[in-house]
Symmetry: C2
């Protein structure tokens, strides 16, 4: 049979990337990146408000046209590629990134009237202008004993859909009045390229709706009009009645106008969109028993469990949404608020000159830290310098380091910080397992996994699970391509597509038994500190903590002689 291809289009914070993939093998035939042209690397800022972060929908449209056209042009140089053999297209994006549109589904920002109005642009995921509205939604949902927060960790975020819309209504009523609907970027792109823009008809993805808009079948979709009106009169106008669906559904077929500009035939199925981390998890090999950690400055942890398991609410998990990652499965999203950010902070703020700066310092600290044995520093840290997203969902928590002596060195602290993030990872895994979601192995993707074998080995030893790295360096776009192929019917299931199109690298990090044993003791110290400082129900004693660390240190050092 002739080769067939799918195209994944991945919208990041600063650029869009198109990837052409051979659907039989996952081979990545061609890629093209479009760097957003507006604002500061694609982000529209307001010097008077550091919380504001917007994007121009024009960058999204140009991004699709330019990146897909470029990738297709490159792919044509590969034997076996033919635009006619592109069976499907998938799209992943940042989120929650809602865009106000008019009654025809045209983004207000593309109209002359609103082109310079920041409130009419896309409200980028990291826009935090709506923090007051988020607090109000949380308070109202709790006060009225509404169920809406049960699936998103108990706290509604300023980054999310309803907070942003309510804030727009209060601060930019001219935009809110002209908006007929708000559309998540993940839905907007598929709608635009298929021409199915009309708000009442465009496909809404379950990923964005479920994780950011409190959409859940259990309570009939979005929160009730009555609840939304209690947050802000008029807010219920932005409810939508469309059933939100997973990305094995089609948003439509590539429309002629767009097809022509990107060098593809019209009529190619385009999958319903979803978030980058979720499609990235699919592109990394996420499946039952396999946790995917997308590890960078922070982490996004994605996991699935069969719908047949009837999963209870898992306290502290950011989101549990049926079919948000893989159809037929619960999608579970967790995260660590800071991982690489903590290592970077230490290098920037507390690393002596002898280790150099930046990447050199990371390398030298890592080399020195790799010579240490688990437990020999006597240190334990909490990884909360940026709060704790999972399982405590508490942004006001802070860092802690314990066990310092007059001999404690920078590499010892660096290693303790790496270990702290591994303990944080284990805490998430343990919480999932407590609620019946078995985690047999971990696949890591992101820069740290590729660059730092020490981090990977520590994670393997701390979690006592094999750590793998995803084969692809562009797992989000690959995941989008997989959904393109599935939505087009080239594969019956996401799992079948994954079996052919994803893989892991040959380097496998297996737990080392001796290290696992020491880390079990250190984790017990971490967990004691975690519960003492992070929860209200702790009733244990801390008087033995420093002694335990000294004893572990002593044993390790003596054992080494």
């Amino acid at each position: 049979m002739a080769q067939q291809f799918a195209i994944g289009v991945d919208y990041g914070t600063n650029s869009a990337r198109a990837l052409v993939v051979d659907i039989a093998t996952g081979a990545e035939i061609a890629a093209e990146v479009y760097d957003y042209r507006r604002g500061d690397a694609g982000v529209l800022l307001d010097s008077s408000d550091p919380n504001l972060a917007r994007q121009s929908p024009a960058d999204y449209i140009e991004g699709f046209l330019s990146a897909v056209a470029g990738a297709v042009t490159k792919a044509k140089q590969t034997a076996g590629f033919d635009p006619q053999r592109v069976v499907g297209i998938g799209v992943d994006t940042t989120g929650s990134t809602p865009i106000p549109v008019n009654a025809e589904g045209v983004a207000l920002a593309l109209l002359d009237e609103f082109k310079d109005d920041l409130a009419a642009q896309a409200w980028l995921w990291k826009d935090h202008t709506a923090h007051r509205e988020a607090e109000e939604i949380t308070r109202k949902a709790r006060g009225g004993e509404y169920p809406y927060l049960a699936k998103c960790g108990g706290v509604y975020s300023s980054e999310w859909y309803w907070s942003k819309i309510a804030h727009c209504m209060r601060t930019a009523p001219q935009v809110a009045r002209s908006a007929a609907a708000w559309v998540e970027l993940a839905d907007y792109v598929p709608a635009y390229v298929t021409g199915n823009l009309h708000p009442s008809k465009l496909a809404r993805g379950i990923c964005a709706a479920g994780h950011k808009a409190m959409y859940h079948e259990e309570w009939g979709g979005l929160p009730s009009a009555e609840f939304l009106e209690s947050v802000e009169p008029g807010l219920s106008r932005f409810r939508f009645d469309t059933k939100a669906v997973p990305s094995n559904h089609q948003a439509g077929l590539l429309c002629a106008e767009v097809a022509e500009q990107v060098g593809l035939p019209a009529g190619i199925p385009v999958a319903v969109g979803a978030f980058d981390a979720h499609m990235g998890a699919v592109g990394s090999g996420c499946g039952e028993g396999t946790l995917v950690k997308i590890m960078g400055t922070s982490t996004c942890d994605c996991m699935v469990a069969p719908l047949s398991k009837r999963l209870p609410d898992v306290p502290g998990l950011c989101g549990i949404v049926p079919e948000s990652i893989i159809p037929g499965m619960y999608g579970l999203e967790a995260g660590q608020s800071a991982v690489g950010d903590i290592f970077n902070w230490f290098v920037k703020r507390l690393t002596p000159g002898e280790f150099g700066t930046g990447a050199e310092a990371h390398a030298k600290l890592t080399d020195a830290a790799a010579k240490l044995r688990p437990g020999e520093s006597g240190l334990v840290a909490l990884d909360w310098n940026n709060g704790n997203r999972t399982i405590l969902t508490d942004p006001l928590l802070t860092g802690l380091l314990i066990g310092q002596t007059l001999h404690t060195t920078a590499p010892e602290v660096y290693r303790a910080l790496v270990e702290a993030t591994a303990f944080g990872a284990l805490t998430i895994i343990n919480r999932m397992e407590e609620y019946g979601v078995h985690v047999a192995e971990v696949i890591v993707c992101g820069g740290i996994a590729e660059k730092n074998p020490l981090v990977m080995q520590i994670y393997a030893d701390v979690t006592n699970r094999p750590m793998k790295t995803s084969r692809s360096g562009q797992t989000c776009a690959l995941g989008a391509a997989i959904f393109g192929a599935v939505a087009a019917g080239a594969y019956q299931t996401v799992e079948a597509a994954q079996a052919k199109m994803t893989g892991v690298k040959s380097t496998l990090y297996e737990p080392i038994a001796a290290n696992v044993a020491v880390y079990a003791k250190l984790y017990s110290v971490y967990k004691t500190l975690h519960d003492a400082f992070g929860t209200t129900g702790f009733s244990g004693s801390l008087s033995g903590v420093m002694k335990d660390l000294v004893a572990i240190r002593h044993d390790v050092r003596r054992g080494a002689k």
Copy 2:
């Protein structure tokens, strides 16, 4: 009346210093330092045992002869000085630094047979070879419900008299057999220079005996023979029956042989010796209501209270010995295991290159830390990097830092460490006050007090007490000179001599009310952590600690706008 003078001789770890003082004014006429010539800057080491630290008694003798002769020669160039007008001599030394002597009181190390035997030398205060013996003494004293540890914080140290003698008996029996007695350096020097060397006759100071040899009138002097025999058969042979006395007593009169070599007339009264910190406290102005902190790498805190108060045992205080500092007063000794050492550790191990190294780094970090307001970093530290001497008497405790974010800077941590040592200082003060010893003001001496106004102001704000610095830069030798004058009868009391001979510098650090209020909140956090990690009885909750720090930080930052 013609001027009169006293000479104070101060034996430190690396040198001896003689100071000639005008007893009417405290004016320091002349000084001379003798650097010990043996070993490594005066310390005899054993490369196979890092715990070993000895000193040659020959350095002590040469030190007296050379330093006093030099000081007298220099003093002669001052109008008004005449060796005939030297009324008394006082001596202070390190301790516990016991020296084995023969039946005539001659140090064994000075005999040909033993001159190269490390066990026959002085066992310097910081020799830790006897840690096992110390543990045994502690265990035996507790097991037998003996009272001996009640006055020294409940734990007997490897640095102290009986531990060292027992260790010598076990490891160097040839020395122990030849020893007729063991004499503290503080007693050995006055004995040597007065010729009253015979072990049965030489004066024993209450300072060394009370703080290091468990000597207490309450139980009839030294621990019972039966107890000592239970520690090590034969140990009771080194009990002495002499009554230990304070330093307003004379050890004897300067003998002709020594007098001639130092250019003084024979017959000058020589005071009973005491430890450097205690005489330093007297030289700094220690008195009722005035705590003296000798602040360097660690601190020694000295305080007095009238004997008429009948002070109870104060839990956690290193030593409470009647008349060990000032006659007629309880002498209370406390200490912080690390102060300057913690700041030095941070500069050496965790300070970025932009701040330079060593003294430059201290200065730059201090400048940056001085620009911060109390509470604005959101950090609190425990000052336990070298354990906690007072009030927890636990060497196995370790450091802790809490409140870090991704923005935490090196100057913020540096300031938090300074504040932690101030909180440690306040904890000692509070403990004294709880047991009826009022601390109205603090006089600080030592290098940090002179060099770092920020440290002094933070201590004033944290303790909510005025902080003063002692006028003299050589308070130990000055204190010794004061005892020389008092023992000679030139003053009736130590207090009368202090009134004339000591003083403080004009720079006074007064508490700043706004800072005091913030530090009261931060101390409450410190105390919670202190009790949670340092004691077994803590039953409070730590779940509010990080939130409290964030709230304090928020208030301070908002208040500054």
